[in-house]
Symmetry: C2
Subunit: 281 residues, 2 copies
DNA sequence: AAGAATAAATCTCAATTTGAGAATAATTTG
DNA sequence: CAAATTATTCTCAAATTGAGATTTATTCTT
């Protein structure tokens, strides 16, 4: 069968005959008035916003993620990525931004927010059919100190029904021997401690970050405007999970960053480091 | 403010007091029985499946995409990406696969299908709030000839209300001077001729393909099991929109492909080409 | 049937990029 | 003031890339 014939065949196949072939054509207005969205049962839709920061450690820096300990069934007391239902009058992006604002108090305008993936398995939530769109927010390490007290939003989370207080905590996040690791001062989480398919969501986000760090500027979304080269390198090492060769890293980054005139004066031995900033344009 | 203090502050902020702080804890079963999904108004959710093939041209090969001319308001007679509502009892992936099967007759098991992006603006559909998850299906050029007549599925598309026949047609697709171009034997489509935000969907899919072709094996999803090097190269050129240097292309692809013992004997001048296949493992 | 044309496949080589370490610079620490 | 420490620059071999020339195996033309 040639490509030409195949196409003919497909066209024919699509043609459908309704009972009233000669019905007067509906105007768009008439059509809309007849349309009834309640006729079908719909899945619920939520956004889950993975909120990441960097955290300076002694030996190496670490990515951190904000998790919520659920106060509700299902997955009572398991740790979850902050999420909410998507309202009928807000875009999915807006819903993710609102969740970010509610959980951090930060103005979403200032924060990098990227859609990652939509999770659509039938049984991912035992209550009912829920489709979740995951987003990743990247917050510069220093920003919290400035923004937290202002911009508060103490609205109760959508979904209601909370019977126990929800707790929020930051967890360090990394991959060890191929599997996800989450821990903080209180201890380590196993996959058992996570709600829904949220372990997979976190893995996917880390994977995406790892890829994009090479050909986009997402790393800079996790840093303040001015930073030293070793801050930048430590961030890359945190994202990639491996040590980098400093002179070569510097050489490679020269296309992304430019010098400032400022010098960082630390309380430690060693040559003082110059501050750099992201190259614009 | 230190990182330690910040975290404390966040925890406090999340803690919420309900009226009945000492209520008996609900079991999961009790909770589920109380939960009523009809309490909230939900957006509708659809999948849109972008179906691509390659098409051999005289000078160069071309990507093709299957479009449907709408028989319904809104966007009556505009061209759209095939889509359907996501059923309550099917996963989002399954819905995309079903749409693929309905429009091509091919068994989705055999076809590469990847989720691309979720489109969530409030007004993207004038009827009602619809969130659409786009998928991209990549069909080997040769596969249609084999599979079309079998595996038919003549189910009417979900959504009903069709007042005019829907037509399906393949359109060549490319980027010229930064903007999307769609055309076939019947002529060229402008952005005006496309329904919804489907122009943007196609652009995103092409962009994704362009990126992934370098570090994944998606290109091979568009080819038969055996192919010559020039078929492979023409495909890359179609996806990337630029000519490649044959000797270097061959050198670079050596990590992806391996020789077969078969030689292609064409009805044309020139050295016969060897068939290659994708390297496994 | 010979030479031209065509397309596949290999070869060459300079230019660029990468990987790894040595050397130098500017501090603080002991 | 010497040693330690961190930032920064320098060096250089190895690997990769980019571009073209060459060889091979056919068909096409006359």
């Amino acid at each position: 069968m040639t490509y030409g014939k195949m196409q003919e065949d497909n066209k024919r196949k699509r043609r459908k005959t309704t009972g009233e072939t000669n019905a007067r054509e509906l105007t768009e207005r008439e059509f809309l008035s007849k349309y009834n969205p309640e006729k079908y049962e719909h899945p619920s839709v939520t956004v889950d916003t993975l909120i990441f920061t960097v955290d300076k450690g002694d030996e190496e820096d670490r990515l951190r993620i904000l998790l919520i300990q659920r106060g509700d069934h299902p997955f009572l007391r398991k740790w979850a990525i902050p999420g909410r239902f998507v309202g009928m009058r807000e875009s999915v992006d807006q819903a993710a931004a609102r969740e970010l604002k509610e959980k951090t108090g930060l103005n979403p305008e200032d924060i990098y927010l990227e859609q990652l993936y939509t999770w659509g398995d039938v049984d991912r939530d035992p209550r009912t059919r829920i489709i979740s769109i995951s987003y990743m927010a990247l917050i510069p390490g220093e920003m919290f100190a400035r923004g937290t007290r202002e911009n508060r939003d103490s609205t109760a989370p959508a979904g209601g029904n909370t019977k126990e207080p929800e707790k929020a905590a930051w967890y360090w996040v990394g991959i060890r021997a191929g599997s996800l690791r989450l821990w903080n001062e209180d201890g380590e989480l196993t996959l058992e401690d996570l709600a829904f398919d949220h372990g997979r969501m976190i893995r996917l986000a880390l994977e995406r970050m790892k890829n994009k760090v090479f050909y986009t500027d997402i790393a800079f979304k996790l840093l303040p405007d001015k930073f030293t080269f070793s801050e930048l390198q430590r961030l890359y090492e945190a994202i990639l999970g491996e040590k980098l060769h400093a002179p070569n890293f510097r050489r490679d980054m020269e296309k992304w960053v430019e010098q400032t005139q400022e010098i960082h004066r630390p309380q430690r031995a060693g040559k003082p480091a110059r501050y750099y900033r992201q190259k614009r344009g």
